[in-house]
């Protein structure tokens, strides 16, 4: 045993020495451990293990054009809210990569995105429990300056193994300004691209005649001129009956358009999206966030304040039409309304509705399994409201020591569509975020938030106080109070406190208290976070 430990120490020492002289070793470590207490009042369930933990460690070695790395993951056992099928430990991410100007290749695990991801995006977010990395081979080439080609083949990660389906994909992008010499210096920049993705899964189903190879393609364009930018992508896939679409054989499609303009202190951004039957997975039987090949971004504002995130929008792969518009303006410094340090004002609006679905004939119900499902006129907006969000943000620095952010929001949230329960929730939210820095080392930040609604769990109020003494200490306490709950017994104070210590690239944080049940979303992908009462320890480190 002693000899084995000695061997490992020598090996690590050798790698470290080697890395110092001939390459670069980097990585990070994260541990989240939670000690649970049962709390029937907030719905925090009994956890038999009492203590659960998720841990990750990434190691990456770079040496010239070569790089290699791995990620250890441990779920002992999996934290509440993350799929317990992760329970266990392993090294699910392992890769080697070699890149030259002409050609590069990756073997093992990798993440990839084509265009905006409507057809292919493999990514990970540990908070969401999403990791659909591809394990296989990827080749990248720039055969001619201005032309970039990527091809890959592999299987997607599912827990500590791989999914059933095979993913084959190809992407090409042409930057005309790089390709055509006379365009090199033009202010108009034009990039064209296109991708093709195909998945293979054996048909072993006794009920349906299933396509084993399901392909999709997506052309895209990106145009820039001065402060103006326009981008668009349209994706379409052939018949792909799956659990997501109730086994209908209608082709799927999605479109994403974005236009933005910025000049001086003004910025305008408009995004439009249409999705119709565009769930695309490497296993047609799977659900939630598992084995997704593509990514359908939510085009609502990514809110950062807690009460504004009680009702977040998540993309609807079965069908949705949405638009988002944002206008931001920087009021002039030194002006009467801009103040000495200037003021930033942002107005944002987003909306999402259903799409129109018409029956394919008089005898087949809309969306009936084992049929073509329905027809849908491309430009018609459905009558069902999924989401509305109108919000304004005013950010102003009053002095070198004091700044404030004020936000107001009004939203409509179709809870039945998003969560499968309840009805339409109409809510108004107000936030005041005040930061006072008495010295260069110390900062006190206070958030005051209120949410008012007659639906769901009623009104909420929240106060948060954060005090930081840089560079080492951080203290925070928050109280979310569901004072408007129609059930008087559930008018609970969710009090939660945290202490963190930071030194160099290491951070340790202790948190304790109650956390409400909620939905956590990142870019339109969400997971249910169960209520929790207990202690959390988080350690992060990078090198």
């Amino acid at each position: 045993m002693k000899r084995r430990i000695l061997t490992i120490i020598v090996l690590i020492g050798s790698v470290a020495t080697f890395a110092q002289t001939t390459g670069h070793l980097s990585g990070n470590f994260q541990l989240d451990a939670q000690l649970y207490r049962t709390d029937s009042l907030i719905g925090a369930p009994k956890v038999d293990e009492k203590l659960l933990s998720n841990s990750y460690a990434n190691f990456r070695y770079d040496f010239g054009k070569f790089s290699a790395g791995l990620r250890y993951e441990g779920y002992l056992n999996t934290l509440q809210g993350i799929d317990p099928k992760y329970d266990g430990v392993g090294v699910p991410y392992l890769f080697a990569d070699y890149q030259t100007e002409d050609l590069g290749f990756t073997v093992g695990s990798f993440y990839e995105q084509f265009g905006s991801g409507l057809l292919l995006r493999s990514w990970e977010d540990k908070n969401l429990g999403v990791d659909n990395s591809i394990n296989g081979v990827r080749v990248r080439s720039t055969p001619i300056k201005g032309i970039r080609i990527t091809g890959l083949i592999g299987k997607q990660r599912q827990y500590f193994s791989l999914g059933k389906g095979l993913v084959r994909a190809f992407d090409g992008e042409i930057s005309l300004n790089e390709l055509i010499k006379s365009w090199n210096e033009k202010t108009t920049r034009l990039t064209l691209g296109g991708s093709f993705v195909s998945k293979y899964q054996k048909d072993e189903d006794p009920v349906y005649k299933l396509p084993e190879n399901v392909g999709g393609w997506a052309p895209r364009i990106q145009l820039n001129r001065g402060g103006f930018s326009l981008s668009g992508e349209y994706a379409r896939k052939v018949n792909d009956p799956s659990a997501d679409n109730n086994f209908i054989y209608k082709p799927g499609e999605a479109m994403l358009l974005n236009a933005s303009y910025s000049v001086n202190r003004l910025g305008i951004n408009v995004t439009a999206k249409r999705v119709d039957n565009m769930s695309y997975r490497s296993d047609r039987a799977e659900n939630l966030n598992k084995l997704l090949i593509n990514y359908l971004p939510a085009i609502s504002k990514n809110q950062i304040y807690s009460l504004m995130n009680i009702y977040p929008y998540s993309s609807q792969s079965k069908g949705e039409m949405g638009i988002q518009a944002e206008l931001s303006y920087q009021l002039k410094r030194g002006s009467k309304i801009g103040g000495k340090y200037g003021t930033q004002v942002s107005l944002n609006f987003s909306a999402a509705n259903s799409i129109v679905k018409n029956a394919i004939n008089d005898t087949t119900p809309i969306g009936a399994n084992g049929t073509l499902g329905y027809s849908s006129p491309f430009f018609k907006v459905g009558k069902d409201v999924y989401f509305r969000d109108l919000n304004i943000e005013i950010s102003r620095k009053f002095s070198p020591k004091f700044k404030a952010i004020l936000m107001g929001q009004h939203l409509k949230y179709n809870q039945l569509v998003m969560e499968g329960k309840g009805g339409m929730v109409k809510a108004s939210v107000a936030v005041a975020d005040l930061t006072w820095k008495p010295t260069d080392e110390q900062a006190l930040r206070v958030e005051l938030q209120g949410l008012w609604t007659k639906q769901d769990k009623g009104n909420w109020a929240m106060i948060l106080a954060e005090y930081s003494i840089s560079p080492h200490w951080f203290f925070a306490i928050t109280d979310q109070w569901n004072y408007g709950n129609s059930d008087v017994g559930k008018r609970v104070h969710y009090i939660y406190g945290s202490i963190a210590y930071v030194r160099n690239a290491n951070r340790i944080q202790f948190s304790s208290g109650k956390q409400r049940e909620g939905i956590l979303c990142v870019g339109g992908v969400c997971r249910n976070v169960p209520a929790m009462n207990g202690l959390t320890v988080s350690i992060t480190s990078s090198f």
């Binding site: 090409g172 189903d205 006794p206 009920v207 349906y208 005649k209 190879n213 052939v238 659900n287």
Partner: protein, 308 residues
């Protein structure tokens, strides 16, 4: 050109050509870089474009009706975990219906109403409580993340499956003979509003390992509320709930049969079970279900169902 010292010689672009390089004509062998890469691109694109299967109607396979030539055909036990306010759950019910059309009585479904979506509302719609103490135990046994979900031919907590893969797993488990034959005779005792079942087992071949026998009562044709996202409005007042688990007659996990080493060939077991029905249950719609499973792996060996 890429220089990788590990290789015997530097890799040339020609090495990446998809056709045998030496067989190409001199002109093709030395195309311009643009032609060469464009050709590679087109060949790759062509390969990918052919990777699509377009299915023409009819999209559903024709019925099999479960006909078999085996003497004791394997039957498949399917646990459907569901709830009346789960808007996606009717999709799973349809999958069961389709399997029953294909395989007849060789599919034995049981629908456990449990979890968040099975909670009854206090007034108005969805007030019926389909939940059972056994369902509460199963909630502890399985870590449910989403509904609908279920298991096919197993009680193993690690083998929850999305409903869309039930058919594939069922068909993989339905071939051949089962090593245990289960017999059920049922009787309704009207005076007591009770049911009685006589269950017999016989090992048709030696089986190793501890086996358990569980006996359940389920009810079909219950008309009540159900959410169904395929309808507008979603709330269906007269939804037909089938295979609804009502109670167990010898506990959720049943009882041990045979001995710890298993069963020898022709081992037999016989037991009688009875239960007083809840006044709300209709005996004529009840089904008695008996199944044998392995204690260690929780794999179901055989299942049988008998109506009243």
């Amino acid at each position: 050109m890429i220089n990788i010292p590990l290789f015997r010689r530097p890799i040339r672009w020609e090495d990446l050509w998809v056709l045998p390089y030496e067989n190409l004509s001199p002109v093709t062998r030395h195309p311009s870089p643009v032609t060469r890469h464009l050709s590679q691109f087109l060949v790759l694109l062509l390969l990918l474009l052919t990777s699509c299967d377009i299915i023409q109607a009819p999209f559903i396979e024709t019925a099999d009706n479960g006909s078999t030539t085996t003497t004791n055909p394997k039957k498949v036990l399917l646990f459907d975990f569901t709830g009346h306010t789960c808007k996606s759950c009717p999709k799973a019910h349809k999958t069961i219906d389709q399997l029953v059309v294909l395989y007849g009585d060789r599919i034995v479904p049981i629908a456990f109403h449990l979890g968040y979506f099975a909670k009854p509302l206090t007034s108005g719609k969805f007030t019926t409580d389909f939940r059972t103490p056994e369902g509460t135990l199963l909630e502890k046994h399985f870590d449910f993340v989403s509904f609908p979900t279920g298991t096919v031919q197993t009680l193993n907590c690690l083998q929850l499956q999305p409903y869309a893969s039930w058919s594939t797993t069922a068909v993989a488990n339905i071939t051949g003979d089962a090593p245990v034959k289960i017999g059920i005779t049922t009787e309704y005792l009207a005076g007591l509003n009770a049911v009685r079942a006589q269950v017999t087992l016989r090992a048709l071949e030696p089986i190793t390992g501890q086996l358990n026998l569980a006996v359940y009562l389920a009810e079909d044709s219950i008309t009540d509320w159900q959410k169904d996202e395929d309808f507008d409005p979603m709330d269906i007042p007269d939804y037909l709930h089938n295979h609804v688990f009502r109670t167990s007659l010898n506990g959720l996990w049943g009882q041990a049969v045979g001995n710890a080493d298993g069963m020898v060939k022709d081992y037999t077991f016989e037991a009688a079970f009875s239960k007083i029905l809840n006044p709300g249950w209709k005996s004529k719609n009840c089904v008695m279900i008996a199944f044998v499973y392995r204690e260690d792996t929780k794999e179901v060996v055989q299942v049988e169902a008998k109506e009243f």
